[in-house]
């Protein structure tokens, strides 16, 4: 497969997943803002995504309205949901001969609807509906991929993009939310504010999952364990990295050995890791290190497979 084709597929998937994760993060802010005395964390959403400066250039204060506008419909912000869905569509357009017609139609349709999405719906109570819509378009896109794509190289590059993006996003998500809820308030093993934590769990579709897995009160440590180490939780770091590792195995080439080793190592550390050790080391340090390693993997994947290889 052409390196450029693989690159478009990989980024198509990353942008769709990114749009979904941004919707999830904004969704949890929105839910938390309805909890009495809850800190919605609009500012933290910007800083965790490295967008503070770009935001300040346009807005003074990180109010709900300003952040929502910036993160949803602002075409100048490359991380807005609008920009992500446009980039997903453009990447899909460049490889429409490689993806199935259902995939192309889904991605194209998502973009067209996003472009025409009524802006006023963002202001009122219908915002929840919008986040649901973004999530469902992402589900649809993944479903169409699973349901129609040949399990060939193209498929594996799409999956690689999806799960590398998800690993990164989930790690950032835990980092920002955990510290916002726990910092200086209570020791990590105490029962925390039920509403805030359940809002967090719901935003990653993990509320019922938590109940099933733990049959217990919501505690910050267990929430963290679920999102980092659980092998059955579809958005956990572990699940994401297992997928990254396996899809990488499937596309391996003559120069990807070291990349595969590193992905395997990271995956194994999640598989055999214990949440006690994560906290002993410091959750923030642990997640920061994880994000660095995921980004290194992303760069290595680009170098091994995606960027036009030099003539030499």
């Amino acid at each position: 497969m052409l390196s450029r084709t693989a690159d478009h597929l990989y980024w198509m998937a990353r942008y769709i997943e990114r749009a979904e994760n941004i919707a999830r993060m904004l969704d949890v802010n929105y839910r938390m803002s309805m909890v009495p005395e809850g800190d919605a964390g609009w500012g933290a959403t910007l800083s965790i995504n490295g967008l503070e400066q770009a935001f300040r250039a346009k807005h003074d204060e990180a109010t709900a309205e300003a952040v929502l506008n910036f993160m949803v419909f602002d075409g100048d912000n490359p991380s807005s949901i609008l920009s992500c869905l446009r980039m997903a569509r453009e990447n899909a357009h460049a490889v429409r001969g490689t993806i199935t017609s259902e995939m192309w139609e889904t991605t194209n349709d998502t973009w067209l609807r996003m472009r025409d999405y009524p802006r006023w719906k963002l202001a009122g109570s219908e915002i929840g509906e919008f986040f649901e819509w973004v999530k469902f378009r992402s589900h649809l896109s993944r479903g169409v991929t699973l349901g129609t794509m040949l399990r060939d190289e193209a498929f594996h590059f799409i999956r690689l993009g999806t799960f590398l993006e998800r690993a990164d996003a989930t790690a950032r998500f835990i980092d920002v939310k955990y510290h916002m809820l726990v910092d200086g308030k209570a020791p990590p093993d105490a029962a925390a504010d039920y509403y805030q934590w359940s809002a967090l769990l719901r935003s990653v579709s993990a509320f019922e999952v938590y109940r099933k897995v733990y049959r217990d009160l919501i505690t910050p440590v267990k929430v963290t364990e679920l999102l980092i180490l659980n092998e059955q939780m579809p958005r956990s770091l572990r699940t994401s990295m297992v997928e990254v590792y396996e899809n990488l195995q499937a596309v391996s080439n003559y120069r990807s050995k070291e990349t595969q080793r590193r992905a395997g190592e990271l995956q194994a550390s999640l598989k055999f890791g214990r949440i006690e050790d994560v906290f002993a080391r410091g959750l923030h340090e642990y997640l920061t290190q994880f994000i660095v390693r995921v980004n290194e993997l992303g760069n290595r994947i680009s170098n091994d497979f995606l960027v036009p290889m030099s003539a030499s």
């Binding site: 693989a6 001969g97 003539a311």
Partner: protein
């Protein structure tokens, strides 16, 4: 002048009776409730939109794509007529390939004076880089999209030979697919010659012209990219043939061979079905500012390590200033009389022709020698006084840039329009493939000028398409 009464109608004879090859269709039309057809027409629009069978229009907002209108009344050609047409096309394309080989080798036709040498050698489409280069099988125009119009019964004229990068074949294939989806019963009532195997034929043709000694050639489609107006077709053909759709940036030259960058490392490329003009193929040899091509490609090509389809320099044979000589080419190379008519052409660079053209601007069609797409054209009988005055000035200033032809009364075919069904002018673009031998699928792309009385069928100017049926005997 074009008189409506003198227009040949593909379906209805002058005496009001339906022509024999349309009898079956006419019967079906009479039996079928109009609501059903209206519903099917809406369905066609919806499907074409969703699937994105569109073309981008230059100058319009980025990402904006338009549908080419599709008309559900087929253009039907009886078997016997197609047989004659196909023989004429074969003959013509064969002679054109021989001409190209001659021009880039011994130039016999120029030596005999049949075509003025300076007409060829100073033509901007002539590529001196190709002089003495041997291409596999001596084939230059592997894919020709010859534009044919009908003036009367059995009377076909070639308008243009299109030997560079002719497009439209994807619409031919999609129109058929759509007709079969909408009206399957029509195909059980008629023996319509299939066209669906075109991509297989094209692939076989491309593989057959691989560089010598290559056993299992790697074929690719080279596109300018997703913003090109014909990108849908490039992607479609690559997908249908099961080959890579490649942009210039995916290719590189090493040791006089061409490679593409793949996830498994560099891979050799043997045959390029290129949908990029000569000028943009190699920034080292042609336009230095081209971002679309591959530096060093010409060198690989000249060394015979890659085949380009079509070859570099085919434009010298389909240029409007060379067009008038095609019948002579056929006589010179094949010793045969041309089976298809050429439209009589006035070359404005000739003094006497120019004088005639200037005196008859209101009757003639004036075309730019290097123009395409129906732009830069004057249709005398339909032009305003101002337009005629403007062309008079253009011709006087730059006579070499123009040719003129009598206004042909293109045949018309019944077509769905707002008021119901009415005749609209049509042309035909059959796609002729040359490799080991010459092949084509029966029919081609029928384009229809949807505006009443219009003779311009180009999609960029309000043209639509129809499914083209060649009826088997």
């Amino acid at each position: 002048m074009v008189h409506p009464s003198s227009i040949y109608d593909e379906m209805n004879g002058a005496d009001g009776t339906v022509r024999a090859h349309y009898a079956g269709y006419q019967k079906w039309l009479a039996e079928t409730p109009p609501e059903r057809i209206a519903q099917k027409r809406a369905e066609a629009d919806l499907v074409f939109h969703r699937v994105g069978i569109t073309f981008a229009v230059y100058g319009e907002e980025e990402g904006k794509e338009r549908l080419i209108p599709f008309d559900v009344v087929p253009r039907i050609i009886p078997a016997q007529e197609w047989k004659q047409l196909a023989a004429g096309l074969r003959q013509r394309v064969k002679a054109l390939n021989m001409f190209l080989h001659d021009v880039y080798h011994d130039q016999n036709i120029l030596k005999t004076g049949r075509i003025p040498a300076e007409q060829v050698l100073s033509n901007s489409q002539y590529r001196p880089e190709m002089q003495g280069v041997d291409v596999p099988g001596g084939i230059y125009a592997h894919i020709a999209g010859v534009d044919v119009v009908r003036a009367g019964a059995g009377e076909f004229y070639v308008l243009e030979d299109n030997l560079r990068v002719p497009s439209g074949v994807s619409y031919m294939l999609e129109d058929r697919r759509m007709m079969m989806r909408l009206f399957p019963e029509l195909f059980s009532r008629h023996r319509v010659a299939p066209v669906e195997h075109y991509p297989d034929m094209l692939l076989a043709n491309l593989r057959a012209v691989a560089p010598q000694g290559v056993v299992d050639p790697t074929v690719i489609v080279l596109t300018p990219g997703a913003y090109n107006s014909a990108y849908f077709e490039h992607a479609f053909l690559a997908q249908q043939m099961g080959v890579e759709l490649v942009e210039g940036q995916d290719l590189f030259v090493r040791d006089e061979h061409l490679y593409m960058r793949t996830t498994q490392g560099p891979q050799r490329v043997d045959v390029i079905y290129r949908r990029i003009d000569d000028d943009f193929l190699d920034p080292l040899a042609f336009r230095a500012d081209s971002m679309l091509g591959v530096p060093g490609l010409l060198q690989v090509y000249r060394a015979g390590h890659v085949t380009l389809a079509n070859a570099i320099g085919t434009g010298v044979a389909d240029d409007k200033s060379i067009y008038p000589y095609v019948p002579d080419m056929i006589r010179f190379y094949l010793g045969e009389e041309p089976l298809l008519n050429n439209v009589p052409t006035y070359m404005c660079r000739k003094k006497e022709d120019l004088a005639y053209v200037l005196a008859h601007l209101d009757e003639l069609v004036v075309k730019e020698v290097h123009g395409a797409g129906g732009y830069g054209m004057l249709i005398g009988p339909r032009a305003s006084k101002d337009e005629i005055a403007r062309f008079r000035q253009l011709l006087t200033d730059n006579p070499e840039g123009y040719i003129a032809q009598p206004t042909l009364s293109l045949s018309a075919c019944p077509t769905f329009v707002e008021q119901g069904i009415a005749p609209r002018h049509i042309d035909l673009r059959p796609f002729v493939l040359s490799g080991k031998d010459i092949n084509m699928v029966p029919g081609g792309l029928t384009r229809v000028a949807l505006r009443e009385g219009s003779l311009v069928v180009n999609s960029s100017q309000g043209g639509g398409t129809k499914d083209t049926w060649v009826l088997e005997e």
